[in-house]
């Protein structure tokens, strides 16, 4: 057992103190670590992904409603305080952009000046669009409930041909009016007015997110662009995952043609933000991946994901791809990508060390290794776990230790979260 008799988290305290004393230097060190790992090299220490989610709310006293709608100093300060108390080398604070909305980015893929700003849905935008894809605290949900993406079926299987013929036109003319009651019908005063309001909402949300990020002490600003797998656009926004999965078997040719047609708008959105040295990453969260058997994954999902990654890496971006669920059965396909293509973040693979790290090390930068449920365990157990994991993974570089999702449960033990960070600082030095 690890001796935790002091439970003072010395390493963490020192790092926090440095965040306040020399934030620019701390930010630079963090950026260097991330750059080093994307180059598959060893940084000075294993970088760690900062926790957030319900746990952050429990620690700050904020509600999900506050994060979604209260664009105030109170929220900014609370987020900054949390980011200082539970720091990471890489953090995901998208406040108030909290839910998936890539269909909107695709719809405006010919507008590089704002397509990425409308890639996530905020509560403010939801109020204007009144979209049926998402539900928000203080609106459809209680103020203490996490905003939720529920998607839905907004397209019939018979309509694939229309989607294939003109994806952007079909989204505007057919899908948006069906999914967003706030827009009314295309061309009407309500439609035009709603889009002007949507513009204001996007600007407010974007402004607030930037201000919040600027306030964080010791965090680097790295440009991020966005992409999405065509099959997930279909599953998340058009046919519901259940519908998409049945379509793959019932209408395979139409499904594939739709994926082909959606590639162009996806790549337009991704390249709207130019690759700025030293590091511009493109973020892709995967959704249908783990649900598909390899045969279907290899035919309807992977060719498109591969094409997107290869195209963007060829243009000078690095990937930051979230492999939702258990991606173990499909891990081998990643070896088809160019070495050092980016960071693959795994949510809950069956055997992280053996089936993910063992296969990908030296080829793909890997993030993960920690179940968010681990934080229900005692600080001693967490430290022991981190120590063992790092012992197995080092000395190779190209690794970021991360909870399977950055969202930690509400009742996660604060001392255990601190023990996690402290242990990485203690045992993660190369």
């Amino acid at each position: 057992m690890v001796d935790m008799s002091s439970t003072s988290f010395d390493h963490l305290s020192k790092w926090i103190e440095r965040h306040e004393r020399e934030p620019e230097l701390v930010a630079k060190e963090k950026l260097d670590r991330i750059i080093r790992i994307t180059e598959l090299k060893t940084p000075d220490r294993v970088p760690l992904l900062a926790p957030s989610g319900d746990f952050m709310l429990n620690q700050t006293g904020l509600t999900w409603y506050d994060l979604s709608y209260e664009l105030t100093d109170k929220v900014k300060k609370a987020v900054s305080k949390f980011a200082l108390e539970y720091p990471g080398d890489f953090a995901i604070f998208f406040v108030p952009y909290l839910l998936e909305g890539f269909i909107l980015a695709a719809a405006f893929s010919d507008f590089p000046d704002f397509s990425n700003s409308i890639r996530f849905i905020s509560g403010l935008l939801h109020d204007v669009l009144r979209d049926k894809w998402s539900r928000w605290p203080g609106r459809e949900l209680r103020v203490d409930q996490h905003p939720q993406f529920i998607g839905g079926e907004f397209m019939k299987p018979e309509e694939y041909s229309k989607l294939v013929e003109d994806p952007v036109g079909f989204i505007h003319g057919t899908i948006l009016p069906r999914a967003c009651s706030g827009l009314g019908s295309p061309g009407t005063p309500q439609w035009n007015g709603a889009w002007i309001r949507a513009g204001f909402a996007v600007q407010r949300a974007m402004g607030f997110m930037m201000e919040t990020l600027m306030q964080l002490k010791g965090y680097p600003a790295t440009p991020l662009t966005n992409a999405y797998v065509p099959a997930d656009i279909i599953g998340d926004f058009l046919r519901h995952p259940t519908g998409a999965i049945l379509d793959i078997r019932r209408h395979p040719d139409e499904f594939k043609a739709a994926c082909d047609a959606l590639l162009e708008p996806v790549l337009k959105v991704a390249t709207a933000i130019p690759p700025i040295p030293p590091l511009t990453m493109f973020f892709i969260p995967l959704h249908l991946n783990e649900m598909l058997p390899p045969k279907l994954y290899n035919e309807f999902y992977w060719p498109y994901l591969k094409k997107i990654i290869e195209t963007l890496v060829g243009k000078g971006y690095k990937g930051f791809v979230f492999f939702e669920g258990d991606h173990t059965p499909h891990v081998d396909t990643l070896l088809e990508l160019p070495k050092g293509w980016g960071i693959a973040w795994f949510e809950r693979p069956r055997d992280f060390v053996k089936s993910v790290w063992g296969k990908l090390k030296g080829h793909t930068t890997v993030a993960g290794g920690i179940s968010p449920m681990l934080f229900y365990q005692s600080p001693e157990k967490v430290e022991e776990y981190v120590k063992n994991l790092l012992q197995e993974i080092k000395p190779e570089g190209g690794f970021m230790i991360a909870p399977g999702v950055s969202e930690l449960p509400k009742d996660a033990n604060p001392a255990s979260v601190k023990a996690f960070i402290n242990a990485v600082l203690k045992y993660g030095v190369y």
Binding site: H146, L292, G325, M373, Y376
Partner: protein, 224 residues
């Protein structure tokens, strides 16, 4: 004539099980229809669904089947057990219920893909299912346990916050003195052994077929 009919039935049963496991929607549907027309025995279809669910559960456990397969299988089972139920009704009979499952997505969560697969499969294998829907508060689960007296309580959820709601629900059950009356199974993308211990559930599963298999085992044990 009798032995011939018996052979015919066994083949039908085997063929139908195979076509479900092969996820052949069209073939399963046509075969089920033919069985019901020719044998007028819905039990063959129900038995095929039960056997198929078991095989599919094993295949999922071995990593040979995926959620997409479970969704397809759930669709097929729902359709053909619907046909069989209709036939049963025409014959003026009712299906034997193997157990009662009360299920819902827990408070704070509105995701229901997983829960719906469980509902389709559990109904198909012979459970009476009471589905409370999504975002179900602990008090509603407790009231429903009192009212319906289920054998099993299924708590579903995708979000990490769902784990807390599951724990709250089990705690409320304990407070109401009902915990020992039901088996509790939790399910969802983010549940694992840690979550199961934390929640105080009897079992956990990331997939519907395995979940149904666990529930069938419980009912067998209870029947002993």
């Amino acid at each position: 004539m009798k032995p011939v009919k018996y052979t015919l039935r066994v083949n039908y049963l085997k063929d139908l099980v195979n076509s479900i496991v092969e996820l052949d929607e069209q073939k399963s549907f046509e075969l089920a229809k033919r069985i019901l027309e020719e044998t007028r025995d819905p039990k063959v279809v129900f038995e095929a669904v039960r056997q198929a669910a078991e095989i599919i559960g094993e295949k999922y456990e071995k990593g040979e089947f995926f959620v997409a397969d479970l969704i397809m299988a759930g669709e097929i089972m729902k359709t053909i057990s619907g046909l069989a139920r209709q036939k049963l009704k025409e014959l003026g009979e009712a299906r034997k219920i193997i157990g009662k499952l009360l299920i819902g997505t827990v408070e704070g969560d509105v995701h229901d893909i997983g829960k719906n697969i469980v509902v389709s499969m559990a109904e198909a294998v012979g459970f009476e299912v009471i589905d409370l829907g999504v975002d179900v508060p602990p008090s509603k689960f407790v009231e429903a346990v009192k009212e319906h007296n289920p054998d099993i309580l299924g708590l579903s959820g995708l979000l990490t916050t769902a784990i807390d709601s599951m724990k709250k629900t089990v705690d409320e059950l304990k407070k109401a003195g009902l915990r020992s009356k039901v088996k509790v199974i939790i399910g969802g993308g983010r549940v694992d052994q840690y979550a199961c211990e934390y929640v105080g559930a009897d079992a956990w599963s990331n997939d519907a077929a395995e979940g149904v298999k666990i529930m069938l085992k419980w009912m067998e044990e209870k029947a002993k």
